[in-house]
């Protein structure tokens, strides 16, 4: 409630973050794993009789690697930061204030990573072999170091562990329960992606015999990792908070769950992606000469889908918080939500960004929607509110808002009956139903009896009343 909510039409701020993050996750993992790949390829190339040829290929790989990791990888990394401050300024502010020096240390790593990569790349033809191997090694260690740091902040959001707003225990927050499994998963994934990027660059080689050798080399990077990731994911899963596990294990997450819990869906996706990677890589190993760019991209796509799925479900498990147990996704602090007087008082009066909307108008409802709902839901796009409320009657809507936090995936509603009524009227107006917010705060039973209607009837009791645009005279 401190900050305005970035109200991005049919997309939603969360999806903007996700789109940037998806690109970044893939490339940044390639960026670190690729470092190890460079080291091993450097050493390998010098032991082969046709080392110079391998090194020419390695130079191509390094060019591809440099351009993609800096232009797209580094920039989208900054992009995540740009987008999270728009999507959740409150949480970004908390993370920045708690971990500013961790971030600053990560930046030192980042600066080092970049500079060493330039020294490696621009010195490719001049540096001594030992120097090149050393630079590649230094690059890998530094790049992995940046992961070691950022992983603490990333995992903190889902599993803050013993950290609280009062103790501000940075060590507890950083080395939180999810830290080590996540670090291992990401590290292993890096090797996998480095091998897959190797396929892509190798697929462009014209000489088939040579291509086959490079492909066989890259195969060894993919298979162990693809087998390890599902097991490590299980370990990570065991560190999650109980409420997250129950959200993921329940069938109600998302619009439809049925018998398919989020956990099952995640497990199936992870299992399928891992297995397909192994199978595809074995095909590459068996027929290395046939590997073409499309096939290599297909394997990267499989990996990307697996990663996307994992990140998607990890984000899903964070509901309704942005920082688990501390801050709700819409910027409401859990400590504030525990105070009923604070929670149930008039929202419009205490909201900083209320503007001057008149109470009991649709504008009132829209502002409540924007400040409390729009950080996760769009009106009629991604995570559409219109769709989710398609069966609502006005009475049901008001009642539901009062108990939605019991579902486990929604934060509590902030505001009094008037705010609820305004929000319901606004939400129903989105699908063309006209509801006068005035009528929702009255006793629905009395209204219904006066009009001779069934109080439980679907959407009848309030039909025919005019929408109040201007302030209602009381």
């Amino acid at each position: 409630m401190n900050y305005p909510i970035w109200d991005v039409g049919g997309l939603g701020a969360g999806l903007v973050v996700a789109i940037i993050a998806i690109i970044h996750v893939l490339i940044s993992h390639v960026a670190v794993g690729g470092g190890a790949f460079l080291v091993v390829a450097e050493i390998w190339s010098r032991r082969q009789p046709d080392g110079q040829r391998i090194r020419d290929w390695l130079h191509k790989f390094a060019t591809f690697f440099l351009v993609y990791t800096t232009v797209v990888g580094a920039t989208t990394g900054v992009g995540i930061w740009f987008s999270i401050q728009l999507a959740s300024a409150e949480a970004t502010s908390l993370l920045i204030h708690q971990f500013v020096f961790a971030w600053a240390i990560e930046w030192v790593f980042f600066l080092g990573e970049l500079t060493v990569l330039y020294l490696y790349y621009y010195g490719f033809k001049r540096n001594t072999p030992r120097m090149q191997t050393f630079l590649a090694g230094a690059y890998f260690v530094i790049a992995w170091g940046s992961l070691v740091v950022i992983n603490g902040i990333l995992t903190f959001m889902l599993t803050p562990g013993a950290w609280t707003l009062e103790n501000k225990d940075i060590a507890a927050g950083f080395f939180n329960p999810g830290y080590f499994p996540a670090l291992l998963i990401r590290t292993v994934t890096m090797f996998l992606l480095a091998g897959l990027a190797g396929f892509l660059v190798a697929s462009r080689i014209r000489d088939e015999e040579f291509k086959a050798r490079i492909i066989q080399f890259c195969v060894k990077w993919v298979i162990p990792a693809a087998i390890l990731v599902p097991g490590l994911s299980y370990w990570y899963f065991t560190t999650l908070p109980a409420s997250t596990v129950s959200i993921l294990g329940g069938g109600t997450v998302g619009v439809v769950g049925g018998t398919l819990s989020a956990l099952t869906r995640m497990a199936i996706l992870a299992g399928v992606a891992g297995t397909l990677l192994v199978v595809g890589t074995l095909v590459f190993a068996a027929y290395p000469k046939t590997v073409n760019t499309i096939a290599a991209i297909s394997m990267l796509l499989v990996a990307q889908l697996g990663i996307m799925g994992a990140e998607f479900f990890r984000e899903m498990g964070r509901k309704p918080y942005v920082i688990h147990g501390v801050l709700y996704s819409n910027g409401l602090w859990v400590k504030d939500a525990k105070d009923p007087a604070q929670l149930n008082g008039s929202y419009l009066e205490k909201a900083k960004w209320r503007g001057g909307v008149a109470p009991r108008t649709l504008a009132h409802g829209e502002q409540v929607f924007r400040l409390q709902c729009a950080s996760c839901h769009t009106r009629d796009g991604y995570r559409s509110v219109v769709y989710r409320t398609r069966d609502w009657t006005p009475e049901f809507g008001s009642r539901w808002l009062g108990t939605m936090q019991d579902m486990g995936v929604m934060p509590p509603f902030q505001g009094d009956a008037l705010d609820k009524a305004a929000l319901v009227a606004y939400v129903l107006s989105l699908r063309g139903e006209t509801v006068d917010p005035r009528d929702l705060v009255r006793d629905p039973q009395a209204t219904a009896e006066r009009n001779g209607l069934d109080p439980g009837g679907r959407g009848q009791a309030l039909r025919g009343l005019e929408v109040a645009g201007a302030e209602v005279a009381q």
């Binding site: 305005p4 800096t70 797209v72 989208t76 020294l119 940075i170 900083k352 829209e366």
Partner: protein, 390 residues
């Protein structure tokens, strides 16, 4: 219809209610170290960011000019600048991170609010940077960089660079004008706003971009020295002529921007800048060091000595740093009615700060050592290449 209604209501009230500005409260965690330290770190890194940014901006424009004018030696100078562009961009991004981090620690509640209000343009910065960065690599790696299509891309990349600067200036100026916020939020909650009615907007934009020519001029001065040392006298002198012209051009534009910004400022703010001791000192220091730098560039022309470009670089760093600090002084003055750094509690994290210092020093030492081992070899190689082609 409902949106229109909402807007009308919000707008009316926003203009009517003067008192309760929607300024978020500072983060409950407070500052991790006394703010003066954060400010110092921020000034230092922001100065480096500006230098890298200026190098890139200046290089791309001089590169385009050389490509289109095409005189003797220009082709090789253009290639030099073209090869600088991706490096400049990557360091402008890298050195942009810490000041952005520290400004969020110091003024988060102001900065986040204005970022959200400009949200659309603010996030547009990312695709723009990916685009221009990609073009800078592309024109370096492509076989025929003089193809009109590639040149067009380069022009677009230069425009994108200017655009990014423009959005940054918008955000920084809006973050100190909370009185405009509610109106802009009502106008476009999706952040399709710009802070166009700020009187100093364009002056500030020019102010941060203009030194680009000067910084690029120093970079060209370095190349000229190298040419002279390698015996390519003609080319070195030619480079130095260009270096002096663009350096002077940059400083003239900077002076224009400075006068413009002072005249566009609200009166009380201007009198603060021209009368308060600290502000006056910073302004004077900056101007003096910039003049020293310009003189050094002028004196260093046609001389095969590293001392001049190195000293000029230092002078321009010392000229920029006080101006960066002055910028913050002005911001604090503008924020005085709403917020001051002293209000925020400090919960110190000395351990983390110390750890950072250790990593920073170790990292910089490592990089320095690696540079000393690698770079001389690279320069020698480049020299051999040039000899062959000459």
């Amino acid at each position: 219809m409902s949106t229109a209604l909402a807007m009308a209501g919000v707008l009316a009230a926003a203009t009517a209610s003067g008192g309760g500005l929607p300024i978020p409260s500072p983060d409950p965690l407070g500052y991790p170290v006394p703010p003066i330290l954060l400010q110092a770190l921020s000034y230092f890194t922001l100065t480096l960011h500006f230098l890298a940014m200026n190098l890139t901006v200046g290089s791309v424009f001089i590169y385009l000019w050389l490509r289109i004018a095409r005189k003797q030696y220009d082709d090789r100078l253009a290639r030099y600048l073209r090869d600088l562009l991706p490096l400049g961009t990557s360091y402008l991004i890298t050195f942009g991170i810490p000041p952005l981090l520290f400004v969020q620690v110091l003024y988060g509640q102001m900065f986040y609010s204005s970022s959200i209000l400009l949200g659309f343009h603010w996030i547009l910065v990312i695709p723009l940077v990916v685009f221009l960065y990609g073009v800078f690599y592309y024109q370096k790696l492509v076989k025929n960089p003089e193809h009109p299509g590639v040149l067009l891309l380069s022009v677009l990349a230069a425009m994108a660079l200017l655009g990014v600067g423009f959005f940054f200036v918008n955000n920084i100026t809006l973050s100190v004008s909370p009185e405009k916020w509610m109106g802009l939020y009502a106008k476009s909650p999706g952040g399709r706003n710009l802070n166009m009615d700020d009187p100093t907007l364009f002056a500030r934009w020019l102010l941060i971009l203009a030194p680009g020519f000067t910084v690029a001029g120093v970079a060209i001065l370095f190349r000229g020295v190298m040419m002279l040392k390698w015996g390519l006298t003609e080319e070195g002198r030619h480079n130095h002529r260009i270096a002096v012209s663009v350096a002077v051009l940059g400083m003239v534009l900077e002076a224009v921007a400075g006068v413009w910004i002072l005249s566009a400022m609200p009166d009380d703010l201007r009198s603060h800048v021209t009368s308060a001791g600290l502000a006056k000192l910073l302004l004077g220091l900056g101007t003096a060091m910039a003049s020293v730098g310009l003189v050094l560039v002028f004196l260093g022309r046609y001389k095969a000595s590293w001392a001049y470009p190195l000293m000029a670089s230092l002078a321009f760093f010392l000229a920029l740093a006080p101006l960066v600090a002055l910028r913050d002084v002005v911001r604090q003055e503008q924020l005085r009615p709403f917020f001051s750094l002293a209000e925020v509690p400090v919960h110190t994290q000395w351990g983390m700060a110390g750890l950072f210092a250790v990593f920073l020093v170790a990292g910089l030492l490592l990089l320095l050592a690696l540079h000393m081992m690698v770079v001389p070899g690279l320069i020698a190689g480049r020299r051999a290449e040039l000899r062959e082609s000459a």
